[in-house]
Assembly symmetry: C2
Homo-oligomer: 433 residues x 2
């Protein structure tokens, strides 16, 4: 093998870990943004508990002391396996002899792409800032209208999807709404604040055991969240959502129901699953190409029991380290031991001092799970020098409801009914694939 | 006088201080944004040294424990002196029997409003975020093009106007460019980085004494800033600026040359100066109306020697306190002592450990002036409980170049030449009056 030219698509947990684990190779790390995003805390930016800069680091700064890693801010349009190069939106194509594909996923609206306009999802920092402005403006408008008419639809938040993102968003909204916004908006009746968590299946957090799902339901309901199970959404409009035959009026609908892998993957021309993920080999390569790897949310990688591994940060990071090692050691395809995920457990935060955690044998809920969440999911995942400082800041902000995060950039513009409409989604609107 | 109904237009230093100093009155504080902005540090957000949330606080949170102050996020369209009410863009009109007008100022392009598109200015948080994205994308693009062609125009920053804002921007750009961006963009030749400070008059910082102006020139030039004096700008286009007969190619032009007061002031129908400021009486009222006050950047208030007081935070804050006292004590017009500005001096930061400061007798430059800047302009101006914590965070970030602030929300979109163009200025674009 000549001098290794490794191209990594995506600076998420998988791509970042791979780049950090590669040593004697020329590495190109391509990302559409200029930063690595600590996605597990994205919901806190969307609910104005943290600022964008608190959970994102410029990739160039991370790799400042790694001269063999070149950071490229660009979008990969296609992968040309025959010519061994990736084609970019802006820059010249980049040649590779080893490729790590880690582009992550976007939302899936299950064929109803028009719903996105009314029910945005949460994947990027731009998404989170957009949702934050929308939420803060909804409170402002409800405060302004409190005398004139009912404010229920302005203060009704509907979260579609009862997975970890939906649960974390619902819990964070309930907390920020009652504890932080309540005192700031004296004219609002907080009884008008309604947070609905709508799940099509029979329980929330289906990746967890049923007893933890039940504990999450209890904790959320105690915080004032209404949970609707077995409730598939049949229609979403700008002013409300149809849940079965019931119409819920709301101007704040958030989509947390489904993922689909990056459309870029189709250019690999190998089998994909129903969510668009690549069905990878046991060494995370694609069929017939022993130096093209797919990792993270883009990979359908069979775990124990045959189910695909979940799309969480520890899986992506371990996969990144695994493929980096194969590349570093130039392990021949027939010498490779299959990738095995070392289960680090699953955690979902419900609120301050409230979480559920599940390990192979151990199941925790409440404060102990929340403390574990702080340690495991933050402390272990971040691999930067300043982690103690960052961690202490986070904890402080998280406990004190950092007020600076509740800043609205936009200003009132149209008159009358349309005022709370955000100007447009130009910032980040084209982050969709 | 019946129960006082005080309406304050603007939550800047003047309006905020007035609202904090009023006690037994019903106060409406109207601002187009939801936050008070610490404008003296806005240039640090524009140069990615601080995050937006570090220098802004939600007005509602500030007045959480002041039930007599109602915060209204709305835009005042006009003041109806006869009917004693202000008309809003969104909400119902609000009646007053006392009015404090503190709407601040915007940029003046001296009749060339089209220049704003190519040379945005810096007044709001939205302006600062826009400039930050533009700067960060310029570096990204220059890095991407380093082989293909010259990158000079991408890395040429032209700042029009040698007042404090221009000087602070030029110094901060030079520092962030060389110290923070340099190591992150290994392919850039930092020799290609050019920062031009263009001033139409014969010296920079004309509000300071000539020896401090000269010291600022020396400090800036040592940091690599090129200063052009006696250089009025005759034309600004998207790709460059005409300075006299010289054409400087640059895609990064920042306007810091002139201010004009809010157009709202014309609805008061009293005399204004050439910048649109109201020529206030000695008690800061408008002629013929002893309970309508104009303060801050919107007021032309004669200082010692007859020159108008400068548009700086201490002036606005002192005026806010002064009018609040007149209102609190219901001082009759003929009993009022004129407003006298207690000179707190002027400070301009040039870089880390570099500033110029001027008091009545005392003149400082270098490190001592910078330390003074830290103490006086931050510690004394902020009147919040957490000022020690905020201050220590600022100092820490300021000294370490907080990397989280260097986040680009937008992503590459068009192909080819136009890539570095920002999508649009929808966020905050309508903040202009």
């Amino acid at each position: 093998m000549p001098r290794k030219q490794v191209v990594i698509i995506g600076g998420g947990f998988g791509g970042l870990t791979a780049a950090q684990s590669l040593r004697d190779a020329d590495v190109w790390l391509i990302d559409r943004t200029n930063h690595h995003l600590f996605q597990p805390l994205l919901y806190q930016v969307a609910t104005a508990a943290l600022s964008p800069g608190d959970i994102a680091w410029p990739l160039r700064t991370i790799f400042r002391r790694h001269p063999h890693v070149r950071v490229v801010m660009d979008e990969v349009l296609s992968i040309d396996r025959a010519a061994r190069l990736v084609r970019l939106r802006v820059g010249a194509p980049i040649a590779f002899n080893v490729l790590i594909v880690a582009p992550g996923s976007r939302h899936s609206y299950f064929g109803h792409d028009a719903w996105e306009q009314s029910a945005p999802g949460l994947k990027t920092l731009a998404d989170a800032v957009y949702l934050r402005e929308k939420m803060l403006l909804a409170f402002e408008e409800a405060e302004r209208r409190h005398i004139a008419s009912g404010t229920r639809d302005r203060l009704t938040f509907v979260i579609v999807g009862g997975g970890p993102t939906g649960v974390e968003l619902a819990g964070a909204l309930a907390e920020i709404g009652r504890k932080a916004m309540g005192p700031d908006f004296p004219n609002l009746r907080l009884d008008d604040l309604a947070i609905l968590l709508v799940e099509g299946g029979s329980r929330i957090l289906p990746g967890f055991t049923p007893d933890l799902s039940a504990k999450a339901v209890t904790a959320l309901e105690r915080m004032g969240v209404t949970i609707k199970l077995n409730s598939p959404v049949s229609e979403i409009r700008a002013d409300g959502v149809m849940i079965g035959s019931e119409c819920v009026r709301s101007t704040n609908i958030i989509w947390a129901a489904g993922n689909k892998a990056s459309p870029l993957l189709t250019s690999l021309a190998v089998p994909q699953d129903g969510s668009g993920r690549i069905k990878v080999q046991r060494d995370l390569t694609i069929p017939g190409d022993s130096w093209i790897f797919v990792i993270g949310d883009a990979a359908h990688c069979a775990g124990p029991g045959g189910n695909p591994l979940p799309g969480i940060a520890p899986v992506a990071a371990q996969q990144g380290r695994y493929v980096a090692r194969l590349i570093r050691e130039e392990t021949a395809p027939d010498q490779r031991r299959p990738f095995v995920y070392a289960d680090q457990g699953m955690l979902a935060t419900i609120g301050r001092a409230q979480a559920v955690a599940q390990f192979s044998r151990l199941r925790l809920s409440g404060l102990s799970a929340w403390l574990l969440w702080c340690v495991v999911h933050i402390f272990l995942l971040i691999e930067f020098r300043s982690r103690v400082r960052v961690m202490s800041e986070w904890m402080w902000y998280y406990l004190t409801f950092k007020p600076g995060a509740r800043i609205i950039y936009t200003q009132p513009r149209q008159s009358g009914e349309e005022e709370s409409t955000l100007p447009s989604r130009s910032v980040g609107s084209d982050s969709k694939e």
